[in-house]
């Protein structure tokens, strides 16, 4: 069967039931496509076996970039391009450069990280999301299992989901 088209959905009402269910379902050999929740469930990423996000590293790198840009810009503008005597101080006096360097570090770091987040998570204004069940933005947790990537049959997967504590088990097919 083709992957990414035919899904079995397990609907869960409670985040703690969901957490245990994810482990149970994975232990019984079913590959989970993704879990959709109305709010962040702590520990879900561990239960699903996701690797830690490297966004903090991106934030640090962007911060470093911002800092370098800020220091270079100020030094070049006031020290090289157009040196001016201001209050009889050195052309390049580092202490007054601290505030702007700090602000630009924070600005570039924040914008860079959020931009990276938007890109890797594919968040954009004109995107139509593929919703498995609209209740997943209200109060239900939806576990989607792709029939195409699992060797088990639809009924077998449904049984596993039912036993793990799902309040409903539904089919969802995309054309």
């Amino acid at each position: 069967m083709e992957s990414g088209k035919n899904f079995v959905l397990g609907i869960y009402d409670d985040e703690d039931v969901l957490l245990e269910a994810v482990t149970k379902v994975r232990d019984s050999g079913v590959k989970i496509h993704e879990v959709y929740s109305p709010f962040p469930v702590h520990g879900l990423e561990h239960a699903l076996g996701y690797k830690r996000t490297r966004l903090p590293i991106a934030a640090f790198m962007f911060g470093l970039l911002g800092f370098t840009l800020a220091v270079t810009m100020q030094t070049w503008m006031l020290g090289v391009d157009w040196p001016m005597i201001i209050g009889g101080k050195n052309f390049i006096s580092l202490p007054p450069f601290v505030p702007v360097s700090f602000e630009l570090t924070v600005l570039i770091s924040a914008l860079g990280m959020v931009g990276t987040f938007m890109i890797i998570s594919d968040l954009k204004p004109y995107k139509k999301p593929r919703m498995f069940d609209v209740r997943s933005t209200d109060d239900k947790h939806v576990m989607a299992v792709d029939l195409g990537t699992n060797n088990l049959s639809k009924d077998e997967i449904g049984k596993v989901l039912n036993e793990s504590g799902a309040s409903e088990v539904n089919d969802k097919n995309f054309d």
């Binding site: 985040e15 703690d16 709010f39 469930v41 879900l44 006031l78 987040f117 204004p125 209200d138 109060d139």
Partner: protein
Amino acid sequence: MQVTSPLRETLVTGGKTVHDITEDICRQVEGKPSKSWMMGLALSLGGLTIGGYAVFTLLWEGIGVWGLNKTVGWAWDITNFVWWVGIGHAGTLISAILLLFRQKWRMSINRAAEAMTIFAVLCALMFPSLHMGRMWVGFYWALPLPNTFGSLWVNFNSPLLWDVFAISTYFTVSLVFWYIGLIPDFATIRDRATNKISKAIYGALSFGWDGAAKTWMRYESVSLILAGLATPLVLSVHTIVSMDFATSVIPGWHTTIFPPYFVAGAIFSGFAMVLTLMLVTRKLFKLEDYITIYHIELMNIVIIITGSIVGVAYITEFFIAWYSGVPYEQYAFINRAFGPYDWAYYTMMTCNVIAPQLFWFKKIRTSIVSTMIISIIVNIGMWFERFVIIVTSLHRDYIPSSWAMFYPTRYDVGVYLFSFGFFFTAFLLFSKFFPVLNMAELKSIVKSSSEKK
């Protein structure tokens, strides 16, 4: 897995379920606006219009229509600027610093407080921009843009320039932080929307959010880092604002305690404004189960603490003026307390130092009426604090022949009214069309912190 203490404070009353939260918050967005909301909007737009006339005249005629003179070159404009920036600080404190400290009570108030931050910072930006006179060329004066004078660059040694960077960074980061938080809630509204237009608008606003566990993981990481970035940022912003004054040589301004004193004052006035707004929003939108007396009490405790810090700072300034032995510094402070502007000084002292101390009484800090009254008093007091610092220090400086008084004209008042009109118009529009509480975050604490039926 999360371990939940059975003794946890109740943050959501009324036995709400996850679905109830969606219903309660979305009702505002989906329903027709209430009469009181329409009246509020009409009032705000009225202020915006009358103030707009003042702004227009100011731009047409020039800064001369304000009451400024050669001695007092900064008065209401910079007072309003510092006041509005200060108000903004509470939003970031609630959403960033309380997130780092894992204070879950922030979740009922952070959305509206952050919105307040953004609108307040915009109001603040208005004043230095207008004071530039020809604000349409202000970009060249304030930003390091290549120009035909050389390029002659901006002066990175000047605290006024630091302010440009600090405020614009602060605004951008706050906006991004706020918007990231809004995305999941927009998705909730999108999935409930019944008509085409709102489906399209909230669909675009929600950036195609689907609530996948992987996205939530990244979202949590982004929120945490943004909070980590915003925390030193918020402290830096008012520090830099205070340096506009502290790095000068004007007696009364040239003080090393300004940065912490200004930051405490900012949080003090910001929390007062959050309370004023939230008490009204809570009543108007029937959010009593989410913004409980416990939330109000905690915010009042923050007001006692920061109010006391501000009080100590006032006394320290006096002590240091005496202890320094500098006659100019001593005169500046004697003039502040006993000079022609003493009424402003005593207004400030009463509103900021005495009024919040009433919150030591449990009855007063858990009463909605007294909280409302004191929060407004604190905001008046904090406006006077900036007025006192700015005008009384300037109006009598080193040369007695140049001593003068400052009297505001109707255009000073008008531009201030304009900023109020803008602030309340923006806040009312936000409260109608955006989810006023962070639904996603609140849903995550329902199980542990909701009152059981």
